[in-house]
Symmetry: C2
Subunit: 198 residues, 2 copies
């Protein structure tokens, strides 16, 4: 999920022209968007010394910098993330995931996922890492964790252009929502990936 933050910024204005660029708007009444909620969850994990997981900054292609009063970027463009948005370490294991939010009422469009993200997650799996997607269904106020292997298979075989929510619910795992941590996805990671190790 690529989120762009402006101090006092205008996400809706941005959305008009950047619908294809994966911009997501605030998740309804919760008052905090999905990315911020995940960042907050990761901050919680770090504070409690549970895991060290961080968001990769959005890559920016810088064209012009003005050095008159210290470096100020005056022309730059957003670039697509060549990997995923989050990675880190949990219980000694490398962990890598992509978070996506959808406003659809029926299915998750595969166009939200870039081919290089699928390649990256395949690489991570092959090297022994834990890889998954967190998919937020905004209309239902629910977040599901899906094994990246399943999503990559679906993406490559493309039986459909989008994954129906029924499939996400069947193949995925509901991530508990609470005050803090907001989305306790590591509880699900324990269950899905580390059950035999504990």
């Amino acid at each position: 999920m690529t989120m762009i933050k402006y101090p006092g910024g205008t996400i809706p204005a941005a959305k008009k022209t950047r619908t294809k660029a994966k911009l997501t708007i605030a998740a309804g009444n919760r008052g905090m968007d999905f990315e911020n909620e995940i960042n907050d969850t990761n901050a919680y994990y770090l504070e409690r010394d549970i895991a060290v997981i961080s968001k990769r900054p959005t890559p920016i292609n810088i064209v012009k910098v003005d050095y008159t009063h210290g470096p100020k970027i005056t022309q730059a463009y957003f670039e697509a993330q060549s990997t995923t948005d989050y990675n880190g370490i949990y219980k000694g294991r490398y962990l890598d995931f992509e978070a996506k939010s959808t406003h659809s009422k029926t299915s998750f469009p595969l166009s939200n996922i870039a081919p290089q993200q699928v390649r990256h997650l395949r690489n991570v799996i092959r090297h022994g890492g834990i890889a998954f997607f967190l998919i937020q269904i905004v209309a239902e106020e629910k977040v599901y964790l899906l094994d990246a292997e399943y999503i990559c298979d679906f993406y490559e075989n493309k039986p459909r252009k989008s994954i129906p929510f029924s499939v996400i619910k069947e193949k995925g795992h509901l991530v508990p929502f609470a005050y803090r941590p907001r989305h306790d996805y590591l509880a699900v990671v324990d269950e899905v990936f580390l059950k035999n190790e504990q």
Copy 2:
């Protein structure tokens, strides 16, 4: 190491005003700067399916975006990386490192390292990751790998404001330089961190 690239860019101009912001200039006759060499090394590791290691993009604080002709950033500022520049997975292990280049002739100034990087590397070590520094001594055209634990101890105890090259050579491990991979630091990781696992 934070490196800023501009298409047809002017690193020396930048250096004038950004000396404290960790800008590094091209490494002499090699024609390629240290960051590019490490990125190239990581590309090699990925192609050969040896490891999946990537650079975190430089964080940028975006203030103004013009959407007239698609999103164009018109005002933004560089932010300090809150973690390190590189991380990834190698032989199933989480790996995290910071690369620094110094033009000094005698010692590596600790002012090149930010306190949050030391905290981050301490966290990584505690959670079972492999953490280190790659330090390039430009004047000698040599790169050394140093265990992050050693650098963090030195940083926190600060017996001196800089680490003498003699200490880097004694405590560190010379990274072989070749055409490709340019800096085969994983060969050193095998030796230093994974010897007992093989």
